[in-house]
Every structure is written in structure tokens, then in C-alpha cells.
């Protein structure tokens, strides 16, 4: 198993309700989630705004520390692991961010952005690795000399993907990575990601609010609503026969590209 997650709970202090003295009350964002993510699987995590899907993703990468429960990554319990220990493992789980403008340091050239994490993990042959990563995401090698603001949205997101795969991780979290792109760039980035997952044998968790995107890419789906797993299953089965009312509501929200069908 890539990930075994048991009764995962995560809460934040609610500063708006903080009394003058004493600690702030806590809001529970994840309310006891349990699921397994097998190696090589592509899991879609779907839910509305505020469902806790991004929080779950960031907890899986231990950017956030859970308040209870456990996260086991590839046999190692990382639930409360110290950052210093995690640092050595971070090469193995990577992330692609939602907004590629904000996630690429504007003062670094693309080559430096991709090479930075490689240097941190002491990998050699930086130039070759950067070139290879750019090749894999379909960007010309000359882009290594460009700044992020000189690229289009789709190209920037490819740089984000290149940075993640250059480390040769076992697992990648993709957090709403196409929601800021136009439809044609979306399709290209999704196709690219799908190919890379197959080629590199990656395990992928794909966080999105868009079911039609999930359907194209994922073989399993996790439906999240208000911090609870509402439904989990094979993509095909879930789309054919959703068991829960919330899942049905989400499915019905997908716009259909059929001109004869009235749009309610």
C-alpha cells in the first residue's frame, strides 16, 4: 500500500471565536477518514468547497499535522513525524499546486526551479535531469532559461509537473491543478499527467471539484463532504450507480454537452 489512512482527524483553531483569555475553540475539518491507496492507483478526491479535500491532501504530504488518527506512507508511520525526519523522505511524495504562478518563485528561472529540489536531495547530473524533466512534460529545453512570467498558464503548470517528477517520487498529489486553466490547456495537462503516471508507474491522488475531470483520469474516487467520506469506489461503478444522495447531486451538476437535452 502507498497510503494507509486510519481515522484521520485534523482541526484548526477558530480565531474568530477565540475568547480574550484561553485557547480558541477548534474546528474539525477532517472528521475521521479511513481509506487505503494501493500502489500504482490513481485516486480522485472530489468534493465541494469546504469539504476538506485540499486539507486531506496537505495532511497526506504532512504539510499539516493531523490531530488524531494515523497516516502510513509506504509502511512508515508519518502521522507525527518531525519535519527534520520528514525532509529525508520528501523526495518520495511530491505535489503539484493549484496556481502555477504562485507556486513558481518569480525570481528564479525555470531551470533553477526544477533543479532546486534536486540539489536539496543531493542528486547529481542536474543539467541532464532538468533537460529530461522538460522533455517529459513536452517543453523545449531552452525554457530552462526563462522566467515563469514569460510562460503561458499551461506551460507554467507543466513546469510544476516537471519539478515534481524530476525527483522521481513514488506518489504525487495534484491539487486542483487544472482549475485555473482554459479548457484546451486543461485537456493537454490532463493527458500529459495521465501518460506520465503510466510511464513512471506513479501513484497519484488527484484533488478536484470537477467530476468530469476525475472521470477521465482516475480509477478510484473518494467523495468528501464536510470532512467525512461519503462514498468510495471504482470510478466506473460510482459514475454508473452512485449510492449516496450527495454523490448523485454532484453527478447531476456535471454540464452535459448535448444540445437536445434541456438545461433544466
Amino acid at each position: 500500500m502507498m497510503y494507509e489512512i486510519r481515522d484521520l482527524r485534523l482541526s484548526f483553531p477558530d480565531m474568530t471565536q477565540k475568547p480574550l483569555l484561553g485557547p480558541a475553540p477548534r474546528i474539525e475539518v477532517l472528521k475521521g477518514l479511513s481509506f487505503d491507496l494501493p500502489k500504482g492507483a490513481v485516486l480522485g478526491i472530489v468534493g465541494g468547497s469546504g469539504s476538506g479535500k485540499s486539507t486531506l491532501g496537505r495532511a497526506m504530504l504532512r504539510l499539516l499535522e493531523p490531530s488524531a488518527g494515523s497516516i502510513t506512507f509506504d509502511g512508515t508511520d508519518i502521522t507525527h513525524m518531525q519535519e527534520a525526519q520528514l525532509r529525508g523522505m520528501r523526495q518520495r511524495f511530491q505535489m503539484i499546486f493549484q496556481d502555477p504562478m504562485s507556486s513558481l518563485n518569480p525570481r528564479r528561472k525555470v531551470g533553477g526551479i526544477i533543479a532546486g529540489p534536486l540539489k536539496l536531495h543531493g542528486l547529481d547530473g542536474l543539467q541532464a535531469r532538468v533537460d529530461e524533466a522538460l522533455d517529459m512534460v513536452g517543453l523545449p529545453r531552452s525554457f530552462a532559461q526563462r522566467y515563469p512570467h514569460e510562460l503561458s498558464g499551461g506551460q507554467r503548470q507543466r513546469v510544476g509537473i516537471a519539478r515534481a517528477i524530476a525527483l522521481r517520487p513514488a506518489f504525487i498529489l495534484a491539487d486542483e491543478i487544472v482549475s485555473g486553466l482554459d479548457v484546451s490547456s486543461q485537456a493537454q495537462v490532463l493527458n500529459l499527467l495521465g501518460e506520465l503516471v503510466r510511464e513512471l508507474g506513479l501513484t497519484l491522488a488527484f484533488v478536484s471539484h470537477d467530476l468530469s475531470v476525475i472521470r477521465r483520469l482516475c480509477d478510484r474516487v473518494l467523495v468528501l463532504h464536510q470532512g467525512v467520506i461519503v462514498e468510495e469506489g471504482e470510478t466506473a461503478a460510482l459514475f454508473e450507480a452512485p449510492q449516496e444522495a450527495y454523490t448523485r447531486a454532484l453527478l447531476e451538476a456535471i454540464p452535459l454537452p448535448d444540445p437536445d437535452q434541456p438545461w433544466e
Binding site: L86, F97, P106, R107, R163
Partner: protein
């Protein structure tokens, strides 16, 4: 979507050249003051008091910008005054910048208790009236170049701390900081290699502004006779001496005043120009 800021052509060149040119001229005259000054700046000649500049009637050859009431050459005093002004600007500005920016960076990036301590400290510090604070400080330390520098640093570090803190905070919320953590960079490493380069243009702009302010503070302190001993020529001292005889010898006041004005303006314009230069989007 491309960043359209790159398409905007802004006339940053002229601003940078004019301010840089004036400051270069000033640095050169400060360094070579003994060589180019026509007279000894301290030499008094009571028979040649209040001589007007060269284009006016009654001017004395050799005294291009006239003399003050004690018969000292205004031009020579201004050239030597540039030395003090620049030393104060560079040393006080740099120390202020390093202390303030470091504290601001730590407060803005680490948040939590370091921020609470530093921010409270800044708030309390800023409640003191600055000029009074400086006068008090120099009264305790005794007048002199070191005291002026210390006074400027002690008063003005809060300016850097506040601005850099706010900037570091907004940069810290960007995803590239989270991505540095994902890549396994340490907190401290992230602060130095990711946040600092993005805050640097702000720091540079503030630094040059601070150098201008340091020149002004030195002038203010000369004005209340708390600067360096009245013998050594400073612009502020000249302005304060010239003020008393402005009706008889305006040149003693006006020339140092113009120099001061141009210098402070150049420092702030240099900062703005450099800030634009530093921005890869605007470059």
C-alpha cells in the same frame, strides 16, 4: 495568461541615470575633497567675511560660492561636508537596514511568538517621538559621528522591520514557499533562498530612502547643535549658521540646502529605479 507588466515601458533609465550621476559626483567630491577644494574649509579670514558668489559684484577671486561670516570658503566646506553626509548615509543606512530587515524578515516569515515579540517591541519603540529621542540619546552619548550613527540606527530600524515584515508575510503565503517545504527545504533555508530574493527589491528601495533620511537627520541634529563639533563642516551646520545671516549672505544657506535637497531626492529616486531594475517582470 502572460504578465502584461512586462509590456509596459517605463522611463526608469533617466531616473536612474540622473540620481546615480548626482550621487557619483558627490562620492567623487567627497573622496577627492582635499585635492579639489580650493581652500582649507576651516581657514578663517575675517577680512573676507560674507563675500558673494563669483558672478555677483564684490566677489573675491578664488571663492567661487562666496564665504560665510567668518570668511570660510562655502564651496570647500560643502565638498568636505559631503564626506560626513555620505559616511553617515552609508554607515547608518546599512546598519539600520541590516538590523531592521533581519528582524522584519524573521517576524514576517516565522510568525508565532518571534513575531509577537518583535512586533510589540516595534510598536512600543515607535511611540517615542523620534527627534526628541535622538536629542536625548545624543545628550547621553555625547556629540560626535558615532553618536549620530547610533541615534539614526536606534530610531529608524523600526521602519525596515515593519515594511519588511509585511512583505515577508505576503510572500510567505505564496505557494512557492509551500513547494519549498514539499521539496524538503528547511525553514531557515526557505527564508534565505525563497523569501529574501523576493523581498530584496523592497529592502533596496528602503535602504536608499533611509540613506536620504540619514542625511536629513544629520542636518536636523546639526541644526540643534548636536552633530559633530562645529569646526568640522557639515551641510546641516552650514544651513544653521547661514540661517542667522540669510538677509546679508543668502549663499551660505542656499547652496548647502540645494545640495541636501538634491542628495535626498537622488537617494529616493535611486531606490525606486533600482526596485524596477530588480523586478524580472519589469526588466
Amino acid at each position: 495568461m502572460r504578465d502584461a507588466r512586462g509590456d509596459v515601458k517605463r522611463p526608469i533609465g533617466l531616473r536612474l541615470w540622473l540620481s546615480g550621476g548626482w550621487l557619483t559626483l558627490l562620492v567623487l567630491s567627497a573622496v577627492f575633497a582635499p585635492l579639489i577644494a580650493p581652500k582649507d574649509p576651516l581657514m578663517q579670514d575675517l577680512f573676507l567675511g560674507r563675500m558673494p558668489p563669483f558672478w555677483m559684484e564684490g566677489s573675491e577671486p578664488g571663492y567661487f560660492l562666496g564665504t560665510d561670516s567668518l570668511g570660510r570658503d562655502v564651496l570647500s566646506r560643502m565638498l568636505y561636508g559631503a564626506r560626513l553626509a555620505l559616511i553617515v548615509a552609508l554607515v547608518a543606512g546599512t546598519i539600520t537596514c541590516v538590523i531592521g530587515a533581519t528582524l522584519g524578515l524573521i517576524a514576517g516569515y516565522y510568525r508565532g511568538w518571534p513575531d509577537r515579540i518583535i512586533s510589540r517591541f516595534v510598536d512600543i519603540w515607535m511611540a517615542f517621538p523620534p527627534v526628541l529621542f535622538a536629542i536625548l540619546l545624543i545628550a547621553v552619548l555625547g556629540p560626535g559621528l558615532m553618536s549620530i550613527i547610533i541615534a539614526i540606527v536606534v530610531i529608524d530600524w523600526t521602519r525596515f522591520a515593519r515594511v519588511v515584515r509585511a512583505e515577508a508575510m505576503s510572500q510567505g503565503a505564496m505557494d512557492y514557499v509551500a513547494s519549498a517545504q514539499v521539496a524538503g527545504r528547511t525553514r531557515f533555508g526557505t527564508m534565505l533562498t525563497e523569501i529574501l530574493p523576493n523581498v530584496l527589491p523592497t529592502i533596496v528601495a528602503l535602504l536608499t530612502l533611509e540613506m536620504g533620511i540619514a542625511v536629513i537627520v544629520e542636518a536636523i541634529l546639526s541644526f540643534v547643535n548636536l552633530s559633530i563639533s562645529t569646526d568640522s563642516p557639515t551641510w546641516g551646520g552650514m544651513i544653521s549658521e547661514g540661517r542667522t545671516s540669510v538677509h546679508q549672505a543668502w549663499w551660505v544657506l542656499v547652496f548647502p540646502l540645494i545640495t541636501l535637497f538634491l542628495t535626498v531626492l537622488s537617494f529616493s529616486q535611486l531606490g525606486e529605479g533600482l526596485k524596477d531594475r530588480f523586478d524580472p517582470v519589469l526588466r
